[in-house]
Symmetry: none
Subunit: 135 residues, 4 copies
């Protein structure tokens, strides 16, 4: 993972894990990597990983069992829920940010469409946990 500057690392890890769940790379009930392992993989302090996991737990996205490990929640439809809420949240933030310009809906859509064209799609989203490591 290449962390962005100016965005807390623990947030970036949290978002990445959510994304992996949303996209089905991490399945409900599946065990997550241990704090130590993930911190070693990401070359980050264990506390930073711990904080990301803690946030996920606060949101009901994963559960920890002391001594056993940490697992993705088995909540039905979790990936769908995450995917929907994440996209909607970002869309809402976007619209709020440009609201002050008082563009009408058609103009907003036109701008989005225009930028979509320029936007080079980058389809690589490597899951944090690779298939080989899942066992």
């Amino acid at each position: 993972m290449n962390f962005k500057l100016h965005i807390p690392i623990y947030l970036q890890i949290e978002e990445k894990l959510k994304l992996d769940i949303a996209l089905g790379h991490l399945m409900p009930g599946q065990q997550l990597p241990s704090v130590r392992d993930l911190s070693a993989t990401l070359k980050v302090n264990p506390n930073t990983v711990q904080r990301a996991f803690q946030s996920l737990e606060d949101e009901g996205i994963c559960l920890s069992h002391r001594g056993l490990g940490r697992f993705v929640s088995e909540e039905a439809g979790l990936p769908q829920r995450l995917r929907l809420s994440m996209v909607q949240l970002r869309t809402q933030e976007y619209l709020e940010a440009i609201q002050a310009f008082e563009l009408d809906g058609a103009t907003v859509l036109a701008v989005v469409q225009e930028q979509l064209g320029k936007h080079i799609s980058n389809p690589s989203n490597n899951p944090v946990i690779k298939k080989n490591e899942e066992a």
Copy 2:
């Protein structure tokens, strides 16, 4: 101005001034309020206002003339340029943020359209500098 928590105040001031210029509330060549006055109006630390003005100068949006004051740049088409660049920047950031979900263009447009419907437009955008204060 009601400042949002967790977003630096200097950024909120800077954005507000840019918006005022983009929307024509502040015209090219017009004098800006002094750091002292604006900080008093906004009930904010003068350092904070200074930082916002400095950013605007760095971007060529305003100029300070020692002993005279600070003025909006007279660059032709400044409001249009600002408006375009601000909206495009935000759109680009938005698309980058949701890129990882690998939605196709049609879906993105549909989501935006859907949220546009829910979004309650708030047409009030009071300029930071009121007409009475312009002298």
Copy 3:
């Protein structure tokens, strides 16, 4: 048994066994299941069951006879003693916890009575050791 998250499993097992004794589901002198059996039944690490039994022994609630097995103490009045001490302990902890609010006795009783009304009683308390397994 459905273990609660964030409460050590060994404690939950220990409490459950005490409760079974207090309620007469496990009688004084009766043999307890082996660590191996109980851990299999509960799908739990044997170390965890061992720890629960050890605590019970430390409290004089059960005794192990090498080669024979582990038995509930034959102490006279054990169930009554347990029942009383467990309820009193919890009550004391509760009162200590709310002491800082400086409520007078009447108010405390009123609050308890109010919550008692809301509290849905869950009368199912299946003993850990079923009759069939007692042999």
Copy 4:
């Protein structure tokens, strides 16, 4: 503050601050001590205090302004809300804990009343921030 063993310090600090608000020792809108000051007072690591404050902020009980400090929320009726929710929560936990004993309501009340008598009331609850320090 004398911290209890086996209960995380950050939780004890959090609870103490909530209690101070509930009892009116800390008023809505009032500035909280800085992380550094409180950590020095309590002889605890700043990170530990930070964590307690963060929890309070997550619960909407206080707000932080970077560079300015941290303040108790000005939410109307916050002290009452906190007092009620804290007492009710503890009462509910208590009743759940003794539920397995299947005591009827009258018995529960009798036990509580009995323990109330024995309970030595300790009316000292020194606020974290002393009046002299409030300025």
